[in-house]
Symmetry: C2
Subunit: 353 residues, 2 copies
């Protein structure tokens, strides 16, 4: 299996190394062959190649079975022109590879739940999978431009029915292998695109009679994630709503640094990255939490390579480390031991075997 590593910026380089080490351990244990090639993206690519997504990187990703991404962006590139910002690298690779489905599981770890901003009784039992459409909507719709000598501006929220169908299908399929409850989020009382979305959900619902569907307006969803997170199973929504809601949901468990994400397409090719950012303030210090990245690698094994057992091994090992009280500087465990990036990675390895 060909894996492309895109460390990107800030702590990206450190944590992607951790993921590689863990994957190598899995490879030798299960007799798989993983080959790794590293390429530039984001600010790192701007510095070295003048663009956030070099042709070379795109080409390599097109030939790969999966991509692991660290993080992109940082204040260093705040002043670069809009068209070559680090984030353009991320948006570009998603679009280039057609990674239309962003999976954002939100589930707390028992030993970390005390750090949730929510009261225990509210966050307890929450296990949400947010599925965000990733290659359509306001992110890519045209026109997106200034008008009247810069005195007005438009962006365009555009979707085809087909784009809606495939992500909504993904939502139903995911619900089917979980708790069979799908919450579709839209703004159908205002947006025409949301009314089409709701129609497509209703149509698709007939193909999944075993799944219960609920429609929720995006503003109501933003409320319910806080007041009643454990009521959700799978949430499916369009790109921008998904961006906002998945980030909102990511802080509920109190351990953002632990959360992985997957961006995939129908044939299984995918890009995997932790939810947290590039954390330039702690980059190079050896204290970054590698677990979100390592758990992203586990998602890669499961979703791109179909290696479910191997993925679970990693997830169990990570949980073991926490149960043993080990944590990085971004987390606290009462009576636990704070460790750095490398030590945490080694602890995962130890718990793997």
């Amino acid at each position: 299996k060909q894996i492309i590593l895109l460390p990107g910026d800030g702590i990206g380089r450190e944590i992607i190394h951790s993921a590689k080490v863990v994957l190598n351990a899995i490879a030798s244990e299960y007799n798989h062959e993983f080959t790794f090639h590293q390429h530039a993206i984001g600010g790192d690519a701007i510095d070295n190649y003048g663009v956030p997504l070099p042709e070379d990187t795109v080409k390599a990703c097109h030939n790969a079975d999966a991509v692991l991404l660290g993080a992109v962006g940082g204040p260093k590139w705040d002043q670069v022109p809009a068209n070559i910002r680090p984030e353009k690298g991320l948006l570009g690779i998603r679009k280039e590879l057609g990674l239309f489905a962003n999976l954002r599981p939100v589930k707390g770890f028992k030993s970390l739940l005390h750090a949730s901003p929510l009261k225990q009784e509210i966050i307890e039992g929450s296990d949400i999978l947010i599925i965000r459409e990733l290659t359509g909507g306001l992110y890519f719709g045209q026109p997106s431009e200034r008008r009247n000598n810069g005195n007005s501006v438009v962006d365009t929220l555009s979707y085809t029915r087909e784009e809606m169908e495939r992500i909504i299908d993904k939502g139903f399929q995911s619900a089917r292998i979980r708790k069979k409850h799908l919450t579709s989020v839209d703004k159908a009382n205002v947006l025409e695109s949301s009314r089409l979305w709701r129609e497509v959900v209703e149509e698709k619902a007939k193909d999944y009679p075993d799944v219960t569907v609920e429609h929720l307006l995006v503003d109501a969803a933003a409320m319910k994630l806080i007041t009643n997170p454990s009521q959700f199973d799978v949430i499916v929504t369009e790109n921008l709503f998904g961006d906002i809601l998945s980030d909102e949901a990511s802080v509920l468990t109190g351990s953002l640094g632990m959360l992985p994400s997957a961006s995939i397409r129908t044939d299984g090719v995918g890009l995997y990255e932790p939810v947290h950012g590039s954390a330039p303030d702690i980059a190079g210090k050896g204290i970054a939490n590698p677990l979100g990245m390592i758990l992203s690698a586990a998602l890669m094994l499961r979703h791109s390579f179909g290696l479910d057992e191997e993925a679970s091994d990693i997830e169990k090992a990570v949980n073991e480390c926490l149960e043993q009280g080990y944590h990085t500087a971004d987390l606290r465990i009462a009576g636990g031991t704070q460790v750095g990036t490398e030590e945490m990675t080694n602890l995962v390895l130890e718990n793997l075997t």
Copy 2:
């Protein structure tokens, strides 16, 4: 002063009556003359006139000094065509009157803060004013339509620089009379409209050197509202972001039923409504919480009539009621007394004088 009452649907009728009673008490105490005229909006208007916003209602509002609105919508009208849904009445009256600035104060009451889904130490001290642009963006942008035989769809996010300027000015002015901190929320790493927004904020900042400005991406804002709500003072943002963030913020204090809102324009004319919905399940039972509506009337006195002292009187009276342990069925106060709509209204009157 001419006040138009738009009870709307569900509990709207009961709570708007409470507001009127309280305003009459203020009028006789301070020797003001308030006249009230009641008109139809929302589902109520659909049932009686076939449209959610009758011409008659629009005309009356145009001639008024301020409008009080109860709530619109309910499952009864879920099946009516999109163009005459109850919400269209609300969107229509905002647009008709040019009410471009939606003010959503979020501040907990000491005696109710225990009901917050957030841990005490996180919600404590929060006092946020969210200012949402209300007549532009995706809500009203054209085209908003199906294309290719219904196989694709677009909505348009459109703003003029002027529309941005006036709401951003409102943000700075509001920050100036509060804690002098303005958080501007956008998605400038993706949207052209957000990049213009950010430019306008930077330009306007020069006119308000006493106010500190911070830019926050909407996804980051959705996180920070939960992890660090007390860090905010005034938030200013465009229509849809404001819809989502203000609803998210509204549940943080644990007493949504208490929150008022104001939708105003430059000359002071405004529409005032509680943040909560029409609650059809409890309509007509006499148990609805009238305090969000009563506090909305207080905002009317302050923002539309410049009657600051009178507004504060109402706010103090409401707080008194809670301190005395009185609460409606949607709230809990340990050792308190549960009362109905009418009794709560009378308690406010008693505490007024």
